[in-house]
């Protein structure tokens, strides 16, 4: 059957209409979301789109990403070829042959070669998915079928061209062979006389598969071909991503328990997921067999939106609960499993915001339903009643420093507030970090003071756990006190305090200059204010990246440099380090919760550290220290010590 517009045109129009309808059916649901301005900083957004969507910077973070990059760039070229294919099908007179030779010839060559590359890349992708899938459940029929369709398109394209070539002679043949080198390989295999048949068959295969492929996009993870680039352009630009503040007025509701509580962009995320599984592979909860899988969460959100969206659009009630069991709901255990480590955010090639979608669900559970793991009741009450997680009397807060004498922060006279934090004030082991830090500050002649019994918890755990109401109270009290005392510069030794004071409190109208002790200590050494008379001899030392120091605040180098100076050698690295660092398990309020399901995160991380056969594991966060210390004890590696960076610096400076 010769290609003819009489048949192709109606098919094309029907397929396109169906495609547009499917896209609209999905994308229009994002309008249910709350407003959110994602059009600020256009220049930077364009830059991000170029480097992350077009240059695929994050995709390339994994070797297998190379296959994707090949397919992506080939697709851009093949879009041109397919446009011609369709135009030609609709208006037989329109072909590339109408183009001037200078464009026509290289274009044809390029399309021919690119089709081969695509074919090879698709085969490689299929083999990779079969042999070593990114995650076990990735071997879906859908994934292989789409690859099969792409391969078919390439082969059909070669078929069309080869059939044409097989019927050519003389100089036209020579020319065709030179501009379609790959297709020419196939031409000799076409029996003489079958040229037209092969051509027509290949053409219709190409046409039908193309229309089918187009219509499968919105129905599958391949919708990302359409949504991923806008999704990158519309990404959140704040890092770390701050939760929204809540207004505590009677009549308001708090948190999210229905899909339209999310913003339109968060809903768009659910249609942009490529199901690549990178978030999942980086997620400490998933990797230790907890029921939280960030990829799954995004999928559940999509299914929930598809189930409830049409009802909500008509003003009817949602029927599928957002929080619950099933593949269109997010389970409570998943919600509570998140350590807010941010690894998912860091891994996602299309900038889907997984973790920030979980916090509002926690808020709903805590604030509206008072439903949360039992262990948190004490924490919440201690925080509210005594403004520390342990419920120790606030008057005990400054006691760790008794031997240092009175060290109050005096407005106008003291330069830095040393915000000790709850762990540093109350936890027996972490108090030693406070002492080491204080002694080093004194040695360097830094002017510092504390708030003593007036210091309150920063509220990090509360906020990550969704208890925004109590966080809000604490934050307001703290900010008021900081303002009253004229505090501008703050030293912290806990990355959770760091991020809360520096980032979260901005929402409360205070811009503090917050410096982590690992940074300040390095600067003091570099400025010559701290001398290192000897090198700390702690044997082989491995450094664990705290998520809140690293991913959330971008502090990777300073602690490493400080350690190198203090010990004379670069610290050892674990396989998962820096941006790819693996959480210790304490973030997101998990510090205060039991870990009943799967492997314990701290054991997994401690084992990873022990693989480097260190004598010392260095942390820069009191929670990390507790987790890893417990970890190595449980692994019976008591010979290995876990020390905070300040203690290591103190060995070099003070001993």
């Amino acid at each position: 059957m010769t290609p003819t517009p009489t048949i192709f045109a109606p098919l094309f129009i029907a397929a396109t209409a169906l495609f547009i309808w499917s896209c609209w059916k999905r994308l229009s649901l994002t309008a249910l979301g709350r407003p959110d301005n994602r059009l600020d900083n256009i220049g930077q957004r364009i830059g991000d789109t170029l480097s992350y969507a077009f240059a695929q910077k994050r995709v390339l973070a994994k070797p297998s990403g190379l296959i994707h990059v090949a397919i992506f760039w080939c697709f851009l070229v093949l879009m041109v070829a397919n446009t011609e294919f369709i135009l030609h099908g609709l208006f037989p007179g329109l072909t590339f042959t109408k183009l001037p030779d200078g464009i026509f010839m290289p274009l044809m060559q390029m399309i021919d070669v690119v089709s081969l590359i695509t074919l090879l890349a698709v085969i490689a992708a299929a083999i990779r998915r079969a042999v070593s899938p990114p995650y076990p459940e990735a071997r879906t029929f859908e994934a292989f079928f789409i690859l099969f369709l792409i391969a078919t398109l390439m082969l059909a394209n070669f078929g069309v061209n080869a059939a044409k070539i097989s019927r050519m002679q003389g100089s036209t043949l020579t020319l065709a062979e030179s501009i379609m080198p790959i297709s020419s390989w196939f031409a000799p295999y076409i029996p003489s006389g079958a040229g037209k048949l092969v051509h027509d068959l290949s053409w219709w295969t190409h046409a039908l598969v193309l229309l089918l492929f187009m219509n499968l996009l919105p129905l599958s993870k391949h919708f990302h071909i359409i949504t991923a680039i806008p999704n990158v352009f519309l990404r959140r630009r704040d890092n770390p991503p701050l939760p929204e503040r809540e207004e505590f007025n009677a009549g308001n509701s708090f948190g999210i328990n229905q899909v339209d509580g999310y913003t339109w962009k968060e809903l768009l995320d659910s249609f942009s997921c490529t199901e690549c599984g990178r978030c999942q592979m980086a997620c400490p909860a998933d990797q230790t067999r907890k029921p939280l899988n960030p990829r799954g969460v995004i999928g559940q959100l999509k299914h929930n939106l598809m189930a409830n969206g049409p009802l909500l659009k008509e003003g009817k009630a949602a029927t599928t609960p957002l929080i619950g069991e099933g593949d269109a709901s997010i389970s409570e255990e998943a919600i509570w499993s998140c350590t807010t480590c941010g690894a998912c955010l860091q891994a996602c090639p299309v900038f889907i915001e997984q973790m920030p979608k979980l916090i509002p669900l926690r808020r709903h559970l805590v604030e509206m339903e008072s439903r949360f793991p039992e262990e948190l009741l004490n924490l919440f009450e201690n925080m509210e009643g005594r403004s520390n997680p342990w419920g120790i009397a606030p008057t005990e807060r400054g006691k760790w420093a008794t031997q240092l004498g009175e060290r109050p922060y005096e407005p106008g006279r003291t330069e830095y507030l040393f915000y000790v934090g709850c762990a540093g004030s109350f936890d027996a082991r972490a108090k030693q970090i406070s002492v080491a830090t204080a002694l080093l500050l004194d040695k360097a002649g830094v002017s510092w003071g504390m708030l003593g019994k007036d210091e309150k918890c920063c509220g990090d755990s509360l906020r990550r756990l969704g208890n925004e109401y109590v966080f809000d109270k604490l934050a307001k009290e703290n900010v008021a006190l900081f303002k009253e005392r004229g505090i501008k510069k703050v030293i912290v030794q806990c990355p959770h305090c760091l991020t809360t004071l520096k980032n979260d409190y901005k929402q409360y109208g205070i811009e503090l200059e917050v410096i982590h002790h690992s940074q300040l200590l390095l600067h003091l050494v570099q400025d010559g204010r701290l001398k290192l008379p000897k090198q700390a001899d702690l044997g082989k030392l491995v450094y664990h990246d705290s998520c809140y120091l690293g991913r959330h605040n971008g502090i990777y180098d300073e602690p490493r440099e400080a350690l190198a100076l203090a010990t004379g050698t670069e610290p050892l690295e674990m396989p998962r380090n820096r941006e790819d660092g693996f959480c210790c398990g304490a973030g997101g309020g998990r510090m205060w919760m039991e870990e009943f399901t799967g492997d314990r995160i701290n054991l997994v991380r401690a084992a990873e550290a022990l693989e480097q056969q260190p004598d010392t594991i260095c942390t820069a966060c009191p929670y990390c220290l507790t987790m890893l210390d417990d970890g190595i004890k449980d692994l019976r590696a008591d010979k290995v010590q876990v020390k905070d960076i300040a203690e290591i610096m103190a060995e070099a400076v003070l001993r």
Binding site: F248, N249, A250, N252, S253, F254, V366, E367, M368, E369, S370, F372, E374, L377, F380, E381, G385, R386, A393, T395, Q432, Y469
Partner: protein, 271 residues
């Protein structure tokens, strides 16, 4: 049926400091909380409300600032919060306290709705006498069931209940007719955490204040004047200053030896 929970506002510390001159509690800088046992008493009342639809009122005798604690009760979901506050109620011992509370309960019973249960904490963390609950029961002629760690049955039609009492080394199952007064221990339940909408509603809800114009009690029988107990002297026993032994981080083994040596020297180790 009305359930009344009695709650007392107490200073939030286990280390109550006593002013040596005035013989009274040092209240400066110490935050107040609901007596921990009373949170369980209130929770028990609320659970029965959830289950049987009874109404719950909380009563507290105390100074005007005890209103904060009553608001907390409102945020947990009680229907009425009543503060019994009057200068003449001040300085009461357990006898006078139970008189005021019992009178208020009787008033609710007569004028509002029959009271089926009064629930108190086992004891307070400041006065620690564990006498007020029983005092109320005796004054009102109610059955008294102390140290309850489980309400096993509440039969509203036959007006009776079955509870488990936690005694030293054993439990006792007791059946009693209503009305009854229970004092409860911590094992009874897990107090609820108020939702934010409830907290916001409680912030503007009414805490009723009843003074002696409402209760009409003879001032000679209440407060300081009605209290036969006179506290002659209260003091915190002095504790010897401790001593830090060795350096457990630098030399764990040596430190343990040192510590054992010291303990044996003082004959504190049963050998």
């Amino acid at each position: 049926m009305l359930i009344v929970a009695c709650i007392k506002q107490v200073p939030d510390t286990t280390q109550v400091k006593i002013d040596p001159v005035t013989n009274t509690l040092v209240r400066e800088g110490i935050p107040f909380i609901m007596n921990p046992y009373d949170t369980h008493a209130m929770e028990a009342a609320l659970q029965l409300k959830d289950q049987f639809g009874c109404r719950v009122a909380v009563l507290s005798m105390g100074p005007p600032n005890a209103e904060a604690t009553l608001r907390k009760a409102l945020s947990a979901g009680v229907d009425r919060a009543i503060l019994l506050s009057d200068r003449v109620f001040g300085g009461a011992d357990t006898l006078a306290t139970s008189k005021v509370l019992a009178t208020a309960i009787a008033k609710l019973n007569d004028e509002v709705e029959p009271v089926g249960l009064v629930i108190c904490g086992k004891q307070t963390i400041d006065g620690d006498t564990a006498q007020v609950g029983p005092g109320i029961a005796v004054r009102l002629g109610y059955q008294q069931l102390t140290l309850v760690d489980k309400v096993e049955e509440l039969d509203l039609t036959n007006k009776k209940l079955v509870v488990s009492r936690k005694l030293e080394g054993r439990h006792e199952r007791v059946q009693a007719p209503l009305p009854a007064m229970l004092t409860v221990v911590r094992e009874l339940n897990r107090p609820r955490y108020p939702t934010v909408p409830m907290r916001l509603a409680a912030a503007t809800a009414e805490v009723e204040v009843w003074d002696n114009n409402v209760l009409q009690l003879d001032p000679q029988t209440i407060g300081l004047k009605g209290s036969p107990t006179w506290v002659s002297k209260i003091f915190s026993p002095e504790r010897d200053k401790g001593e830090i032994v060795g350096d457990g981080y630098a030399d764990p083994e040596g430190t343990v030896d040192l510590l054992l040596g010291k303990l044996m020297e003082k004959d504190l180790l049963p050998l």
